[in-house]
C-alpha cells in the first residue's frame, strides 16, 4: 500500500462518523448475510398457538421468540433478519444504478457544456417535475410488481438526484486551471474526465451514494408496504409494518421492530457517507499550523 493510501485510510479510521456508521452498516450487513443461520425460526413458520407474543423481556414473552410474534405467530426477529437481506439488496443495487447513470450524465453535461448540457439539464428538469411516488407507482403498475422492478424504478427516478448535484460540482471543477493544464499535458477528454474531474467529485458521489442507499431502503419499505415490491409471503420490513398495522394498538412491537431496523440502517448509511466525504477530501488535508 502506498503511503498516500495508508494516510487516507488512517484519516477514515480516525473519524468517529466513519467508525460508528461503518460498524452499524457492517452489523446490518452481517446480520443480513447470515440470516439463515442466525434466525431462530423460518420467517414463514406460523405458530398459531402463540400469536402476538410480546418480546421475551416483557410480561408474557417467551424465550423462543426473542422479539415476539405477529398475528400469524411468526417470529419477528427471524422476519427482521430476513427482511434485512431484501433491504440491503435493494439499497446497494438501486443506489449503484442511480449513481452510475446520474454520474456519467453529470460528467458529460458539466464537462462539455453547450447543447449537451442544455439537453441533459432539461431532461432532468422534466424528470424531476413528476412527483416521485406517482412516477414510481406508474412505473410499477406498468412493469408489474416485484423487487427488481422496484430497483429499476428507483434507478429511473433517482438518477436525477445524482445528476443535478454532481453536474454543478463538475461545473466548478471544470473551471479550475488544473483541468486546462491536463489538456495541455496532452490528456484526451476522456482521460481528463476520468483522472482529473472524477476524483474531484468522488467524495460527493460517495456521500450521495450513502444517502441514496438509505433512500432506497425507505422506498423499498414503502413499496412492500403497499404490496408492490416482494411477494406477500416474503419477509420484508415494509410487509411487516403492513401486517402489524391492524394490531398496532394491542401489539406495538410488531411495528416498532421494523421501524427501528429501517431507522438504524438509514442512520448507518448517512453517518458513513458524511464521515467518508470528510476523510476522503484531500483539500481538507493541510499542513499543520499554516494560517
Amino acid at each position: 500500500m502506498s503511503p498516500r493510501a495508508r494516510a487516507t485510510l488512517q484519516r477514515c479510521l480516525r473519524d468517529p462518523r466513519v467508525i460508528g456508521g461503518g460498524l452499524l452498516a457492517l452489523l446490518v450487513a452481517g446480520l443480513a448475510l447470515f440470516a439463515p443461520w442466525l434466525a431462530p425460526h423460518d420467517p414463514q413458520e406460523q405458530d398459531l398457538l402463540s400469536t402476538l407474543l410480546p418480546p421475551m423481556w416483557a410480561a408474557g414473552g417467551e424465550a423462543a421468540y426473542p422479539l415476539g410474534t405477529d398475528t400469524l405467530g411468526r417470529c419477528i426477529l427471524s422476519r427482521l433478519l430476513h427482511g434485512a437481506r431484501i433491504a440491503l439488496y435493494v439499497g446497494v443495487v438501486a443506489a449503484t444504478g442511480a449513481m452510475l447513470l446520474g454520474t456519467v450524465l453529470a460528467l458529460v453535461a458539466g464537462y462539455f457544456g453547450g447543447w449537451i448540457d442544455w439537453a441533459i439539464g432539461r431532461l432532468v428538469d422534466v424528470w424531476m417535475a413528476f412527483p416521485p411516488v406517482i412516477l414510481a407507482l406508474i412505473l410499477l403498475v406498468g412493469m408489474g410488481a416485484g423487487v427488481n422492478k422496484v430497483i429499476l424504478a428507483i434507478v429511473l427516478i433517482d438518477w436525477t438526484r445524482f445528476c443535478r448535484v454532481i453536474r454543478s460540482e463538475v461545473l466548478v471543477v471544470r473551471r479550475r486551471d488544473y483541468v486546462a493544464a491536463a489538456r495541455l499535458a496532452g490528456f484526451t477528454h476522456v482521460q481528463t474526465i476520468v483522472k482529473e474531474v472524477l476524483p474531484a467529485v468522488t467524495p460527493l458521489v460517495i456521500t450521495l451514494f450513502s444517502l441514496e442507499m438509505g433512500i432506497a431502503v425507505i422506498v423499498e419499505a414503502i413499496m412492500s408496504f403497499v404490496g408492490l415490491s416482494v411477494e406477500p409471503d416474503v419477509a420484508a420490513w415494509g410487509v411487516m409494518i403492513a401486517d402489524a398495522r391492524t394490531t398496532m394498538n394491542q401489539a406495538p412491537w410488531g411495528v416498532i421492530a421494523p421501524v427501528l431496523a429501517i431507522f438504524a440502517t438509514v442512520l448507518a448509511f448517512n453517518l458513513l457517507g458524511d464521515g467518508l466525504r470528510r476523510a476522503l477530501d484531500a483539500r481538507l488535508v493541510t499542513s499543520r499550523g499554516e494560517a
Binding site: 486551471d177 493544464a181 491536463a182 499535458a185 493541510t286 499550523g289
Partner: protein, 618 residues
Amino acid sequence: MPGSSGSPVLEARGLTVSLRGAQVLRDLSFAVKPGEVLGLVGESGAGKSMIGRVIGRTLPQGFAVTGGSLLFGGRDLVGLEAEPLRALLGDRIAFIPQEPLTALNPVLTIGQQFGEHLERLRVPRGLRRDRIVSALTDVRLRDPAALLELYPFQLSGGMCQRVMIAMAFASEPALIVADEPTTALDVSTQAHIVQIIRGMQRDHRTSLLFITHDLRLASRVCDDILVLYAGDIVEQGPAREVSERPRHPYTRALQASNPPLGGTRRRLATLPDQMPGIAGFASLPGCRFASRCPIRDGACASAVPPLMEVGPRHRVRCTQGCLSDDRGLVPGEPLVAVPLDGRDPVLRVEDVWKHYAGKRDWLGRRHPGVDAVKGATVSVAPGEFVGIVGESGSGKSTLARLVMGLEDATSGRIMVDGVDVTANAGEARRIRLGALQMVFQDPQSALNPRRPVERLVTQVMEAADGAGDAERLARAKALMRETGLPVDLLDRYPSQLSGGQKQRVNIARALCVTPRLLVADEIVSGLDVSVQAQILNLLLDLRQTRGIGLLFISHDLAVVRYLCSRVLVMRNGEVVEEGATEAVLGDPRHPYTRSLVAAVPPEDMDVPWPPLAAAESV
C-alpha cells in the same frame, strides 16, 4: 502633521498574540498619533493583519492575545467588554477591506447598504440620502445619485472600494484600518484609491493604519513605517528614512527584490527560502530572521536582539554592525541583453480575433457579444522574452488561452515553427503542445489538490502512457532540481506546499515536455516580493540553461521590464503600443501606456506620486 503632539489614537504596548504557545506577534509596540498614517509592512504570514483582527476580535480559532495591551483613546481594546467594543467599531474605528466586492452585500443596492450604515450611526432617515450623495461625491464618484440604485456587481472593483472608503469615513472615525486596500485592484486604480484615502485622511485628520505587503507603496502613503517579519518588528521609523536608508537586512532585501522601473537592470538579490509558517516560529528562539540573514553570526540564533535606536525615531532589531555600513547589500550583476539570432519565430500569432457571442434571450434574439481580442499580432523568437501588459479585462489572458488552444480563435492564424496549428486537433495539437506550455496564474487552482508533487510535475508522461514508474521518478527528481525544489517534497500534496513552492511546481510541470516557449499568465502576482524575485530569477536561469522563450503576461510594468526585452501594451482587446521594453516604458507614446507608467510609484521620493492627473480620470 507627522510627529505632532497629542496623545496617540492607537497605541500597542508589548502586544503579543499566540497560537498554541507559539508567539505569532511578539512584543509589539507602536503608536499612531492623531492624523497620522502608520504603515504595517510585511509579507504574508508576517502577522500584519493580526492587529486589525485583534481590534475587531476576529482572530482565527486558536489565536489569543497573551500579553500586552492595545489602547484606543486610553481604553484597552483587548480587555474591553463586547458591548462597548461593538459601539466603537464602525463608528470610532472603521475598516477598509482588501476585497471590496466581497465586503459589499451582493443582494443590496449601494444606497441600501450605505443607508443601513447611517442608520447604525443614528442619522435621521430624512438626511441619509443627502449624506450618502455627499459622501460618494467626496470620493470622486461620478453621478452618485444614480449609484444608489446599483448593485455592487454592476460597479468596478475600484468603484466598490471608493464606496467602502466613503462608508469608512462616514462616521468621522478617529482611526481607520485599511488592510491591503489596493492589492485587488489594477495599477492605475491603485493610484486613484491611494490618492483618495490620503486626501480624505488629511481633510478629516483621521489616523490611518495602512497594512500592505508593498514597501514602495507604503513609503509613499505613510508617515511612519513598521516592518514586520515573522511576528517581530524588525525596523520602524519615519517612512522616508526607512525607505531611503533601510538598516535591517530584511528591509534591505525587500527593497532589493523589487525590480525598479528605471536605471540599470541588475539581477535581483534574493533571500534564500522563505519566511517560516507560524508552526515554525516556536523553533526560532533568537532573531527570527537569522536563518535567512546574509550577515548572521552565532549569537543571532540564540538571543532576541533588542530594538535599537539608529537615528531620530528610527529603530532596528539587529545586533550586527551592519547597521551603519552597507554589508549584506551586494548589488546584482547587470543583466546583459541576450542577442537573438535571426531564426524564424517559435510562435507567430497573426491577426487573431476572439468574439464571445452574447446570450440569447427567451425569444431567441441574440444580445451583442464582445470582442475579447481584436486582431492581435505577436511573434516570439527562440529564447526571446516578450511581455504583454494591460489591466484586467484587456484581453491579455484570453490571448494566452488562444495561443495555448484552450480557446478557439474566431479568426486569424496561430503558427508554431511555421506550421499552422490554428485547427488545434490531431497533429496540430501535438505540435503545439510539444513546443508551447503554459504556467497558470493561480497555483492553487492550477495544481490538482489530489495529486502529489511527483505526479503533478510528470503529468505529461501519464498522457503518453509509455513511461514506467522509475522513469517518471527520475524525471521528477531532475525537474525538482532544475526548479530549485527539495526532492523530499515529491510525495507532498499542493496543500502542504508554500505559495512559492507551488509556483515552482507549476513551472516544473510546464518544463516536463521540454517546451521551447513558456506562456506565463500573471505567475508572480500572487507571490510575496522576496519569493517573486526568486521566481523571476529562475525564469532568467531557464533561458540560460534551456534557451527557452517566454510570453510573459503581467500588469506589473517593473517586473516586465526586468524580464522582457520587448513589450506589447493591450487595452480593450487591442495592442495599442509595441516595441523594445526600454523604449516603450521610457518614452511611452500611447496615452494609455503613459497612464500605466505614471501609476507606478517612482523610486525617487522627491518625485511626487500619485500624479495629480491620475486621480482626475475614472
